[in-house]
Each structure stands twice: as structure tokens, then as C-alpha cells.
């Protein structure tokens, strides 16, 4: 699991250190830096699969990505993973002169091994992940090689999770769209392809997957018994989603097309599809509250939390959510929440809600979302005035 992200001089993140848990919720006003945090993860993920020259160009050119407040000569993206009490870190440094460096540290106080990486090449970490690693021949780099190999070996699945980090901004209308069935279907960031992903799960070798998905859906929305994916008439290979409901007359179950299902049902089904599809990677969800009745927000939060711990789904998948909804936030714990603010001089500042002065005392009376709504980010972080 990604334990920490440290970003320096990247976009509005001048020097931001953010700790992540299995389920992390970012709150803050528009333009505070929430998206930049997700962008930092996206860029790091790309360095795991593409040559650096292909990444840092066009919209992602150095000059667009670097902090603009002062003259900076480099920016750095660093991820940290827990290894017992120690934290192992991997840092990518990019200078204005297009000089790249990878820094590997095996523990908090240990040596930092540095690789210089040519722009045209990929990172040494990517070489490792892709099986194209060529060992160093110079003495000093042999130790660094060893450190990198050890780092990769210990956090292989975590690093692969970084490679593909789709940012889901799910739209219920897109979730309802019909889709051609594909063996390797994945959910699109706005929700297209949900039907194809469900079809992949239903036709997969493990029949229990769909049973568990339907059970979790039924627990969240008791009127729903299951799902069915009938073919669309006249469109070969294309399917649509229907929900199987209890019959109020105690007769056989009835089905309704997803066009008549609630937005909440669509959203929860999509999250379950993500949880049970064996794609690697963390799940970044932007504003899951959109289009949802407030009474469904608790189920959404509980579902995402269960996905993050593996209580729902095949394996635990780390979840990061951004929200503008105090109602959604009311269902979170302060330990799960990071308050993102923007300061003109210091750029983005991230504060864990659990660090807010007196937060547990305040939570005896107020909800997490209420505190945010009534106080705003700054007053929340600064605490009581004398």
C-alpha cells in the first residue's frame, strides 16, 4: 500500500508530504491542489511504463509541471512504502535541464542510492518492472542495483498498482450505456463499459465472483437481488444491464432495465465491478456524491472502505476519494481525511484531519462534514482562537 507521497516543486505542490491509508478522502476548495496530488501519482505511474521523453512533453512538459512561484531548478516526486517500522522510498527528480535522477532509500536513516537516467531511456525501476534490467558494471552502482532490486521485490504489487491509476469521475448515464462484450474490458473513467466489465466477471472462470458481487449489492440495496445482462436486440455482441428485484407480490423476481434504476444503484454496482475485477491499481474516485441522494452516501463510503480493506472484492485496493460534499464527509473518520488548502507563498498545504486541534472533542458533538462545512479548511486546521 502506498503509505506516503512527497512532492516538491510540482504544479502547486511546493513541498507537500501526504500520508495515505487504505481509504483516504481529500477535501478542499477548488484549485487547492487535490487534482495536482492525483496528477503527481499519475505522472509517477507513467514513468513505470513509458520512456521519460514520451511523458515530459506537450502538456506535461517540464515548464508546465514545475512550481512557478520562485525559480526552481527541479521537481521531485517521491513515494514511500512501509516495510515494518522502516519506510522505503523511491524518488524521481527532474531538473530543468532534463536531467533525471532516481533515488532509492531502503530505510528512513539509511543511504540513498542515486541513478542518473538519460531522458531518452526509461527509469531503472521501469526496466526492472519490464524485465529489461541491465545490471550496472560500475562498483558504486552495484550497491544501488541491489537496493533497487530489493525495493522492487518487496513492493512489486504496490508499484504495479501505480502503473495504471484511472481517475474515476463516474457519470450514471455513462454507467447505463450498453457495451460490446470484450474479454479484457475495463471500466472507463466516466463509467462507460460497466456492462462489459460485469460480463467479463460473469463469464469468468470463478462463478463465485458474481455471487459475491450480487450479495454485496443486495446488502447495500436490499431491494436488489442480482443483475442480469441480456443481449441488445439487433446489436450482435452488445449487452445491457438489468437489475433483478424482489417481487412485491411474493411472485417470481422481476427485472428492470438499468435506465429505470437509481443513480445510487448504478454507482454502487460500478464500485463493486471495480472491486471484483482483478485489475491492479489503486482506485481514485472524484466526487462520488455527484447525482446521489444524500441517503445513499453512507453506503458509498462504506462500500469504498470495504473495497480498501478487501472486505468486498478479490483483494484490497487502496482507495483515494476527492469530495466537495460535507454530507459524504460525515460518514468518514478524521483519520481518513486530508484537508487540502492553498497558500499563495507556500502552495498547497495538506493536514490530516486527525491533527486538527481538539478534533475528537469536537466530534462528540459535530460530524466531520459539519466541522468542515461550518468552519472551512483554514479555521478547522488552525483551531480555537484565543
Amino acid at each position: 500500500m502506498l503509505a506516503r507521497l512527497h512532492v516538491q516543486n510540482f504544479k502547486c505542490l511546493r513541498d507537500v508530504d501526504i500520508a495515505f491509508g487504505p481509504f483516504t478522502v481529500l477535501i478542499g476548495p477548488n484549485d487547492s491542489g487535490k487534482s495536482s496530488i492525483l496528477d503527481a501519482l499519475r505522472i509517477l505511474g507513467r514513468t513505470m511504463r513509458e520512456p521519460l521523453a514520451d511523458i515530459f512533453r506537450g502538456d506535461d512538459e517540464w515548464r508546465h509541471l514545475a512550481w512557478k512561484g520562485t525559480n526552481v531548478s527541479s521537481f521531485a516526486l517521491e513515494v514511500g512504502y512501509k516495510n515494518g517500522p522502516q519506510e522505503r522510498t523511491y524518488k524521481l527528480v527532474l531538473s530543468a535541464l532534463n536531467v533525471f535522477e532516481e533515488h532509492i532509500s531502503e530505510d528512513n536513516a539509511g543511504p540513498v542510492h542515486v541513478f542518473k537516467v538519460p531522458r531518452r531511456a526509461g527509469t531503472r525501476l521501469r526496466d526492472h518492472a519490464g524485465g529489461a534490467f541491465v545490471p550496472s558494471i560500475k562498483g558504486s552502482n552495484i550497491a544501488a542495483d541491489h537496493s533497487l532490486r530489493s525495493f522492487y521485490g518487496s513492493h512489486k504489487s504496490d508499484l504495479h498498482a501505480l502503473v495504471e491509476i484511472p481517475r474515476y469521475h463516474l457519470n450514471p448515464e455513462h454507467l447505463r450505456s450498453t457495451a460490446p462484450t470484450l474479454r479484457d474490458a475495463v471500466l472507463a473513467p466516466t463509467g462507460d463499459n460497466l456492462v462489459a466489465v460485469l460480463d467479463r466477471l460473469i463469464s469468468g472462470p470463478d462463478r463465485s465472483v458474481i455471487v459475491r458481487l450480487e450479495k454485496a449489492l443486495h446488502e447495500a440495496i436490499p431491494t436488489i437481488r442480482g443483475i442480469s445482462l441480456p443481449a441488445v436486440a439487433g446489436q450482435a455482441g452488445t449487452k445491457t444491464l438489468e437489475f433483478v428485484l424482489d417481487n412485491a407480490q411474493n411472485g417470481p423476481p422481476v427485472t428492470i432495465p438499468c435506465a429505470h434504476a437509481s443513480d445510487g444503484a448504478m454507482l454502487l454496482t460500478a464500485f463493486l465491478a471495480l472491486a471484483f475485477s482483478d485489475e491492479p491499481g489503486m482506485i481514485l474516485v472524484e466526487e462520488p456524491e455527484n447525482g446521489l441522494h444524500p441517503s445513499r452516501l453512507r453506503e458509498v463510503v462504506e462500500m469504498l472502505r470495504k473495497i480498501s480493506t478487501g472486505a468486498v472484492g478479490n483483494t484490497p485496493r487502496q482507495v483515494i476519494v476527492t469530495t466537495h460534499s460535507p454530507l459524504l464527509l460525515n460518514y468518514t473518520q478524521p483519520e481518513e481525511v486530508r484537508i487540502v488548502q492553498r497558500d499563495r507563498e507556500r502552495g498547497t498545504i495538506v493536514t490530516p484531519m486527525s491533527d486538527v486541534p481538539d478534533v475528537h472533542e469536537l466530534l462528540d458533538e459535530f460530524g466531520t462534514g459539519e466541522l468542515w462545512y461550518l468552519l472551512g479548511e483554514q479555521a478547522l486546521v488552525e483551531g480555537k482562537k484565543p
Binding site: 460525515n330 462528540d364 458533538e365 460530524g367 459539519e370 466541522l371 461550518l374 479555521a379 483551531g383
Partner: protein, 238 residues
């Protein structure tokens, strides 16, 4: 002099913003003027919010150990914002109309329990509506209408102003109607926020305490206890 946040029920109590805003607005109306008459309250630099303001709304989960409800919950929301510096004032003055709910008379006791050093609270109940705090100030009413107290007395019902009620079947016992009739018949004016503010600013607190012993008198004591007595201006009438 203390800047405070006034929370009340409507235009005549605490004013309304001059522009559409979700923020607290400069305090106007009867309550701020009366508060200034009885205590060290800086009315001109105080703020106001109606009870219905979104910044007082609560949507707390039910499982909180110290969950509060209704007016109490709204007061706690206001206090939180004052204590954390979101609302830059020194305390809270809140007034509710009793309307047809006698249980509201207990509200000041319930709210005063929450007062803190950083956020003193003065709460009051207008019995049975805020118009009593205007109609009870007969001398000020006469002054503002440029007439004599006798004339005001003749036009007002003889019973206590704290018995007048907007829901009364007899129109002549509805306080808003009485105020409008006074303004119209004695001064060819319309009842307005400005008129009520003028009356409040001329009000003799002792006279009003006698006229409104259930509502205004304890409120005046509470405001003075929370914010101290008004400064004595040399040459002014005590």
C-alpha cells in the same frame, strides 16, 4: 464595546442584507438597537444571521455523544464559528418569537448553559412576538411618531403588549396591525424597519422592562450580564 452576532427571526428583529449573500450581514432592526441601549454592544459593527441561515444548519449524524437539536444546535454551530474565528465577533445575542409555543420561554436557560469565556451568550424570547418590544415602548413610540403618549395609549389596546398575538381572531389585537394603524393614523407613515429602529433607539429600557416583564426584562438582564453595562456618555440622560 463588543461586536456580537445577532440571530433572530426576521427583518424587523435583526434586519436583512441589502444584497443577496450567504454571509452574515450588518445587524439592523429592533434587537440590535435595544441591545445597544442596555449593554456595551457595538451595534454598528455587529453582524446578523436569521435562524434559517445555512451557516447555522446542522446535518449531524445521530450517534454523537453530545448531540443537540433545534435552536440549541444552531447556537452551537454559531458558537463554533465564533470561537474558531470564522465569525469575527465577541459573542452571541439570539432572540426567538414565542409565537404559539410557550415552551420557548425555557430556551434562554437552555442556551445560556453553553456560554463560554470566548463566546458569551444572551438569549431572549419575544412574548409573544417582537412587536411587543416596540409597542411596549410608548414614550419612544410617541416620539418617533411626533405625537403625545396619550394619543398612543388611546390607539393601543389596554391589555399587556405581551398578550398580543399575530394569530388572534380579533384583528385589533394583532400587533402588526396595531403598529400599522398607529403609524398611519398618528403620523401618516407606514410601519417600516426604519421606523421600528428609530423607536428602538429612543426606547427607555426601564419602561420596556415594565411593559414586557416576561420577554424583554430577562433579556435585558442577560445582555447586560454577558457584555457589561453600556458606557455612560457625559451629558446624556441616564
Amino acid at each position: 464595546m463588543k461586536r456580537v452576532l445577532f440571530v433572530g427571526d426576521g427583518k424587523h428583529d435583526i434586519g436583512v442584507p441589502d444584497w443577496p449573500t450567504d454571509e452574515p450581514f450588518p445587524a439592523r432592526g429592533v434587537v440590535p438597537h435595544l441591545a445597544e441601549r442596555v449593554a456595551a454592544v457595538d451595534r454598528a459593527h455587529s453582524l446578523a444571521m436569521p435562524w434559517s441561515h445555512p451557516r447555522l444548519s446542522r446535518f449531524q449524524p445521530k450517534n454523537r455523544a453530545q448531540r443537540t437539536r433545534g435552536y440549541e444546535a444552531k447556537v452551537r454551530a454559531a458558537m463554533l464559528q465564533i470561537e474558531r474565528g470564522v465569525l469575527r465577533v465577541d459573542g452571541l445575542v439570539c432572540v426567538v418569537d414565542e409565537d404559539n409555543d410557550p415552551e420557548r420561554r425555557n430556551l434562554p436557560d437552555v442556551l445560556h448553559v453553553h456560554a463560554s469565556e470566548r463566546c458569551p451568550i444572551a438569549a431572549g424570547v419575544a412574548v409573544r412576538s417582537i412587536e411587543a418590544w416596540t409597542l411596549g415602548a410608548r414614550t419612544a413610540l410617541a416620539q418617533a411618531l411626533r405625537t403625545k403618549v396619550d394619543m398612543v395609549e388611546k390607539t393601543c389596546p389596554s391589555s399587556s403588549v405581551e398578550e398580543l398575538y399575530e394569530g388572534a381572531g380579533d384583528r385589533s389585537r394583532r400587533p402588526k396591525h396595531i403598529l400599522q394603524r398607529l403609524a398611519d393614523e398618528l403620523a401618516r407613515m407606514k410601519d417600516s424597519l426604519e421606523l421600528r429602529e428609530e423607536i428602538a433607539s429612543l426606547t427607555d429600557p426601564d419602561e420596556l422592562c415594565k411593559a414586557c416583564p416576561i420577554g424583554f426584562a430577562p433579556f435585558a438582564v442577560a445582555v447586560r450580564a454577558a457584555f457589561g453595562p453600556p458606557p455612560v456618555v457625559v451629558g446624556s440622560t441616564p
